[in-house]
């Protein structure tokens, strides 16, 4: 199996953003998706760094794609999407709106925020030019297996969400702004203080979700460490790793070592907890009763 780095979900400074892709150019991953997924207001802060990052990654023999936004509503966002299709780089669609702007017959990738739940939708997307699909994180492993087989027949590589906070919902309302009693248009970039999202707890102080502007994520970090053999057997071609602010290069290396058989099952989870001792892990969407559950022992450190 290969490793794909998904679009960064968070709002980082331009320097931190560039440092991530400098690291990845040297890192043990096969492909990288970059660009703005969550909020179009963040893009101007690092937009001018994108061409250089794309060039550096391509020079290091990584496959590269630019993501569309996950929710496209405004005129400005529609224009941005149209411009994306003209940049001469592979596009990963994360809102079907992007399909309306791609040149007919152009190949594209499909990200985890597009609802590909079944063979019918996969075949329809393949007919339009989809070459690679990262499945929605909530799919159970039985569905993953069916879709990986269908993908093999259609010439579409199938990816699974491998590691990182799970994208659970996207909204027209910005929750970071709401928390600061502001509207979305006057958010004053409240999300920039939380480079991995802001923890949301229940009334019993149980960590549950993380807020990231208009996006809601899981508190737990999905981690497929204990599912890798089953995913390989199911025909999954690549694992998707989602950038995090601390120790991401180490995490990518750990997954590479695990795929190469250099380290045993459980070692990636151990590494994730060495990087951030408070990290709670989950793999329940694949095999558990609910998304939050973890097959590798107690969920909390």
């Amino acid at each position: 199996m290969e490793l794909t780095v998904g679009a960064n979900q968070f709002f980082w400074t331009a320097d931190k953003w560039s440092a991530l892709y400098d690291d990845l150019a040297q890192g043990p991953v096969d492909r990288v998706v970059l660009g703005e997924l969550v909020c179009s207001k963040r893009l101007p802060f690092y937009q001018d760094r994108i061409p250089e990052a794309v060039a550096a990654l391509a020079a290091a023999d990584k496959e590269v794609a630019l993501t569309s936004l996950a929710l496209i509503t405004l005129k400005r966002e529609r224009k941005l999407t149209a411009a994306l299709a003209e940049m001469g780089v592979m596009v990963e669609i994360n809102d079907l709106t992007a399909l309306a702007h791609l040149p007919k017959g152009a190949g594209f990738w499909v990200g985890p925020l597009v609802n590909v739940y079944n063979e019918g939708t996969l075949a329809w997307l393949a007919g339009l030019g989809a070459k690679r699909v990262c499945l929605p994180p909530e799919l159970p492993i039985a569905s993953v297996g069916v879709l990986a087989r269908a993908g093999a027949d259609l010439g579409v590589a199938i990816e699974v969400w491998g590691h990182g906070r799970l994208p659970l919902a996207i909204s027209g309302r910005c929750y970071h702004a709401r928390l600061h009693k502001r509207g979305k248009d006057n958010c004053q970039f409240a999300c920039e203080d939380d480079p991995d999202g802001l923890e949301v707890c229940t009334l019993e102080d149980q960590p549950f979700m993380a807020m990231n502007g208009v996006q809601t994520l899981s508190d737990s970090y999905a981690c497929v460490d204990h599912q890798i053999e089953r995913l390989a057997e199911a025909g999954v071609s690549s694992l998707r790793l989602s950038p995090q602010s601390q120790g991401f290069a180490r995490l990518c290396q750990s997954y590479r070592d695990r795929l190469n058989g250099k380290i045993p099952a459980g070692a990636v989870a151990d590494e994730a907890r060495l990087i951030a001792p408070e990290t709670r892990l989950s793999d329940g969407f694949l095999t558990g009763e609910s998304g939050v559950t973890w097959s590798g022992g107690p969920a909390s450190p």
Partner: protein
């Protein structure tokens, strides 16, 4: 033209009540996982669907069949059969969200009118026109993340009819793109047709304080005697930073009855009422109210006011994203 009232029916009795109360159109689903209100004891078997359509047609009303979950890989035939059976029952349209299903219906069941479900979250004219070109959809149910001016802008750029929610439950997340429920309970709107399911709700009385839990997470806490809202995840009470409260949305329901004139000006064709899980008397009352509102509008009379307040969840109501307060 008078705006079309599209009313929910969870049972044949509710369908008949809605039609008699003056609903122009009723939407309903089969009693299985193919629809997004897959609740125990709700929805229509095949015979009930045929009879419901006959009853509605005899009274000049239309029936739309919602097949708006996302088919499970390996089991698509269940959803395909639902489309076939809706067509055979004489349904006036099917409401679909999954592109694979739209593709099936467009290619294999030509002539069947297709509406794009709110679960497809089509939030701009580009994607709506793309769906029209790809599958021939005739109407889109708009996601509840748009303001009235944004709806007007969409209508100016598309020939596809628009239908908007005006009353009942309110998703604050883009519909069909939310897995909060399956994260906590294993069951989701997209895969199972349920959100924050009753099977995973627990109420615990703790020394005069009532905790409402969903999938083991306490998301509401009220004193004795206070009304306890249903623990829907996005309307729960949480803490983040130094704040505790309804961080995503208050336990409110949508009521846009006073916005009907603006929605008409924005070019909206149909007004949709949420609530296939509601009783036939609720449905009849809501329909009568909205019907009198659109009839008043058509006749140039003033809108009747505030009749629906007491029917709303927890008495609190919102106009959602329509008034642009989210922006």
């Amino acid at each position: 033209m008078v705006m079309e009232i599209v009313c929910p029916a969870g049972t044949p009795a509710a369908l008949r009540a809605a039609v008699k109360a003056g609903s122009h159109t009723v939407y309903c689903g089969f009693n299985d996982e193919t629809n997004a209100r897959n609740f125990p004891g709700l929805n229509f078997d095949r015979t009930e669907m045929r009879e419901g359509v006959q009853f509605a047609h005899a009274h000049g009303a239309k029936v739309l069949v919602a097949i708006n979950t996302f088919p499970r890989a390996g089991d698509q035939s269940i959803w395909h059969r639902a489309i076939d059976d809706a067509k055979d029952a004489g349904a006036d349209a099917v409401i679909l969200a999954d592109p694979g299903l739209l593709d099936y219906a467009a290619r294999r069941r030509p002539g069947l009118r297709l509406h794009l479900s709110v679960q497809a979250a089509a939030a701009n004219a580009d994607i709506i026109n793309f769906y029209a070109e790809a599958f021939g959809i005739k109407r889109v149910v708009l996601p509840r993340v748009l303001s009235v001016p944004e709806i007007a802008a969409i209508n100016s750029e598309t020939d596809v009819e628009t239908e908007v929610f005006v009353f009942g439950g309110l998703c604050v997340m883009a519909e069909g793109r939310c897995s909060l429920s399956s994260y906590a309970t294993g069951l989701s709107p997209n895969m199972n047709g349920v959100c924050s399911p009753a099977s995973h709700v627990e109420y615990q009385d703790n020394q005069g304080v009532l905790n409402a839990r969903l999938g083991g997470y306490t998301i509401h806490r009220v004193g004795k005697g206070e009304p306890a809202p249903y623990p829907t995840l996005c309307k729960g009470c949480f803490s983040a930073g130094d704040q505790t409260g309804h961080l995503f949305e208050d336990p409110v329901s949508l009521n846009a009855e006073q916005l009907i004139p603006q929605l008409q000006k924005a070019g909206v064709t149909a007004l949709k009422i949420e609530g296939r899980q509601r009783s036939k008397s609720y449905v009849a009352q809501v329909v009568r109210n909205f019907r009198s509102a659109v009839d008043a509008l058509e006749a140039g009379r003033p809108m009747p006011e505030g009749m629906l307040a007491r029917l709303s969840e927890g008495q609190a109501m919102t106009t959602g994203a329509y008034k642009k307060t989210w922006r």
